[in-house]
Symmetry: C2
Subunit: 133 residues, 2 copies
Amino acid sequence: MFSVSAKTQYAIRAMAHLAKNQGVSVPSAEIAASESIPPKFLEGILTQLKSSGLVLGERGKNGGFRLADKPEAISMLSIVEAMDGSVKPVSCVEKAGACAQGMSCLPRIFWIGLKEAIDAYLGGRTLKDITEG
Amino acid sequence: MFSVSAKTQYAIRAMAHLAKNQGVSVPSAEIAASESIPPKFLEGILTQLKSSGLVLGERGKNGGFRLADKPEAISMLSIVEAMDGSVKPVSCVEKAGACAQGMSCLPRIFWIGLKEAIDAYLGGRTLKDITEG
DNA sequence: TCAATTCCTATAGACTTGATAGGAATATAC
DNA sequence: GTATATTCCTATCAAGTCTATAGGAATTGA
Ligand code: FES
Ligand code: FES
């Protein structure tokens, strides 16, 4: 339970790599080699990060990827959500009628609280926190 | 990401049901009907809860399940762990060598912090909290 | 024109999840 | 002791997700 996908872990390592190389465009293949990430898999990850607006991609020769913002302005939550979507612990939080009780269902409130705790943790740290001490 | 399995959600609803029927043995089929849980699926869940020591099962006629302890003594964390094992966000927290850096790897510390935040939330509430206001 | 690179789509194998089926073991009631 | 209600055990299945790879089209710079 609560396992973080390899995709998300790769994404964060890749973002950290870009944070250490600000100002220059780093090719996907270079990140892959440096961080031990399957190259073709990483390509897809970076595309996904790009369409979420977290990185900028430049094609062609001397192309590559760079951060779209300063590391201290990129929350961990935004990276996680870019990969796996919003953190939704349980189905019944989204679709009603999963259980007999209604909106005041106590388990439901319990799960929502968990989501908020996770979001608070992830939203409270930035890329800078995991690249510097 | 971070979706809670149907199994765990069912388990908690079942435990809540038992909490409302303390002192008597409730048959699996009755819980299933009352909580809209697939009967045979629930059987397996209750067996699992039993082998984790959270409930007691009694066979034969008039048999069924009951809580092994008072609701306020059963943490949500214990239920979640009984279903899906310990909360381990990332692989590299367990098996070393997943990334180039060592124990001081900042992403690693970040993930451990997340695990602790989740455990703190889950460990800080009990079955009683989700059965009473 | 050439080389490097992102970008797009398709695919495949392994694994996980949710659920069902059939029956063996066990306890109670009559 | 026989019928009945129940847990318990094992096997199976379909559907989905996750991880990864493959091949090539589009774009850019030299
Ligand atoms: S709404 Fe999810 S358990 Fe009731
Ligand atoms: S140990 Fe997990 S990213 Fe380094």
